[in-house]
Symmetry: C2
Subunit: 120 residues, 2 copies
DNA sequence: TTAACATCTGAACATCTGCTCAATCGTTTC
DNA sequence: GAAACGATTGAGCAGATGTTCAGATGTTAA
């Protein structure tokens, strides 16, 4: 080929696209909060803990035996979950029972599960 | 106090609690997949990208300018999002336009947003 | 008071993550 | 062809993350 047709690519206004997208993202505070919410459930250990607590309250050693990690590791994670208000603690003697404090978590898990099951 | 009442704590069957919870968690494969889904959206950068793409397709440089990171960083993230089937690519000349491939993501974000807004 | 038990805490560690930098590839334009 | 441009890739790095270990705290039982 000595000559080729000129390529005409679709016009694309970068300035406008960026401005519109910036609106869609919203303020960075809400983005950060959203990301944090997803982050809690992004660790398999924490996710297992939350899944287990959907049914009933559990003590630290039960969770540790259930997942297969140290009671220390469980305690660390529970502190984080408690700080984020996902879980509440009930003390009974030397034992500490944890249960879910958040009702919306189950919805999140349900939607995410549906999302996975409909993958090719 | 010279004498104190005997403490009677609520009975708790560890074996039974663990067995019940193990059922609630399910197989470890599904847990891993769930965690991975949440993990994609747990990074502020990726979350911003997804939020921006909810409205319209964007090219790499637009996203880079929008978020304030290198085009290289964007490209790295887009490869990940493409691998996970969250995004699809359309090439036009030297530009690469990305758009959302997954319809469920919006639901996930909506539920998570509601979850945040109803916090004390 | 001891001893045993459940939980919690801080430190150290290895691993993972997301970023930038530099170089490369593919396309378009001169 | 050469230069410009957009996108991609790999290496390297700093920071975050999850775990274990050792020790401390608090509670119950002997």
């Amino acid at each position: 080929m000595t000559r080729s047709k000129p390529h005409n690519h679709q016009a694309h206004n970068h300035q406008e696209a960026i401005r519109a997208a910036r609106k869609a993202i919203g303020d960075s505070d809400s983005v950060w909060g959203l990301a944090e919410t997803f982050k809690v459930l992004s660790d398999p250990t924490r996710l297992k803990i939350v899944l287990a607590l959907l049914k009933e309250e559990l003590c630290v050693l039960d969770i540790a035996a259930l997942i297969g990690i140290t009671d220390s590791a469980v305690s660390h994670q529970m502190r984080l979950l408690k700080t984020l208000r996902l879980v509440k603690q009930r003390k009974d003697g030397k034992m500490a029972f944890y249960s879910l404090e958040d009702e919306h978590i189950e919805d999140l898990i349900r939607v995410a599960t549906r999302h996975i099951s409909e993958k090719s």
